[in-house]
């Protein structure tokens, strides 16, 4: 008999003995194993329930944050667009809108003016154009 045959014989015998030992687990041990399984399942269920509770508790601050954000967004829109309120005619509202538009334009032009007339290169160009006009008209 070769070593390989002997090894295979050992493996087969050991496998068979181990399988038999599983089949022959005592009633006392079987009952303890079943109890262990039930306890494991109960513990897992309990911890799952606890996790659910924790999540539900966390919905309250999350909801409050979302509501606060919505309020801020809505309020900022209300500031930009004038809306007819009690005691205000539509004409007054339009006037207010136009005033607001003019104010914005004024601001833009002021900014544009600042940009435009503070740039030295542009100023040089304008001087050149003025000189060119004067030269052409004199000639």
């Amino acid at each position: 008999m070769t070593m390989q045959d002997k090894d295979q014989q050992i493996i087969d015998s050991a496998t068979s003995e181990l399988n038999n030992s599983v089949d022959n687990i005592s009633a006392q041990d079987l009952s303890a194993i079943t109890r262990a399984r039930h306890q494991a399942l109960e513990l897992a269920q309990a911890s799952a329930g606890k996790t659910k509770k924790d999540f539900s508790w966390m919905f309250i601050p999350a909801g409050a944050i979302v509501t606060a954000c919505l309020v801020v967004v809505v309020y900022s829109f209300m500031q930009v667009t004038p809306v007819a309120t009690e005691g205000q005619s539509l004409g007054q509202v339009k006037q207010a809108q136009e005033d607001q538009a003019h104010e914005k334009q004024g601001l833009v032009s002021t900014f544009e003016g600042l940009d435009l007339y503070e740039d030295p290169e542009i100023n040089e160009e304008l001087d050149f154009y003025e000189w060119l006009d004067a030269y052409e008209s004199s000639s």
Binding site: K6, D7, Q9, I10, I11, S13, A14, T15, E17, L18, N19, N20, S21, V22, N24, I25, S26, A27, Q28, D29, L30, A32, I33, T34, A36, R37, Q39, A40, L41, L43, A44, S47, A48
Partner: protein, 175 residues
């Protein structure tokens, strides 16, 4: 149910590895808890390897704890109180219900299993794991390597060495 299908073999595996029935039950319960708690949402075909990975990790932890305990006992000059299954308990309660076997057969069978358990328990942990996962659980080399977190080659080496030791220690009489 998956757990009821694997629990007996898993118990035997833990019992052989630890040599202690109560510790084996604790390890089994903890492994079941962890599987249900963390991996219940995984695919059912993954449960087997996952469960055995958890079980093996628990057994390794048990070995670590036990090694520390033994070191402390050594320092305080106590004898090794490592107990084999059922040694401290009532032998009548622990007697196996093997209806239909003669007392001689029963004793012979019990002795063979006890010898095998003892030799497997004395193997280095990695050889023990490879041998039990291949023979008791019937996993192939690839799955065993996945559970043991090592290469296929390592599993083959550990398994081959384990078989060699078993052949040496059990001898022809056991066969």
């Amino acid at each position: 149910m998956f757990l009821s299908g694997v629990e007996k073999r898993a118990f035997r595996l833990a019992e052989i590895s630890t040599g202690n029935r109560d510790d084996a039950l604790d390890i089994l319960q903890e492994a079941m808890c962890k599987l249900v708690d963390k991996y219940a949402s995984r695919k059912p075909e993954e449960w087997g390897p996952l469960f055995h990975t958890i079980l093996q990790r628990m057994i390794v932890d048990w070995y670590r704890r036990n090694a520390v305990r033994e070191r402390f006992r050594g320092w305080f000059g106590r004898h090794n109180s490592y107990q084999h299954v059922g040694e401290s308990e009532d032998p009548i309660q622990n007697a196996k219900d093997e209806y239909g076997k003669t007392p001689e057969q029963e004793m012979h069978s019990g002795r063979r299993v006890a010898m095998l358990d003892s030799v497997i328990r004395d193997l280095p942990l990695r050889q023990q794991q490879a041998f039990l996962l291949r023979t008791l659980e019937g996993y192939d080399v690839k799955r065993t390597a996945q559970i043991m977190k090592c290469s296929d080659g390592s599993v083959k080496t550990h398994y081959s060495r384990a078989v060699h030791v078993l052949r040496e220690k059990l001898g022809d009489e056991w066969l």
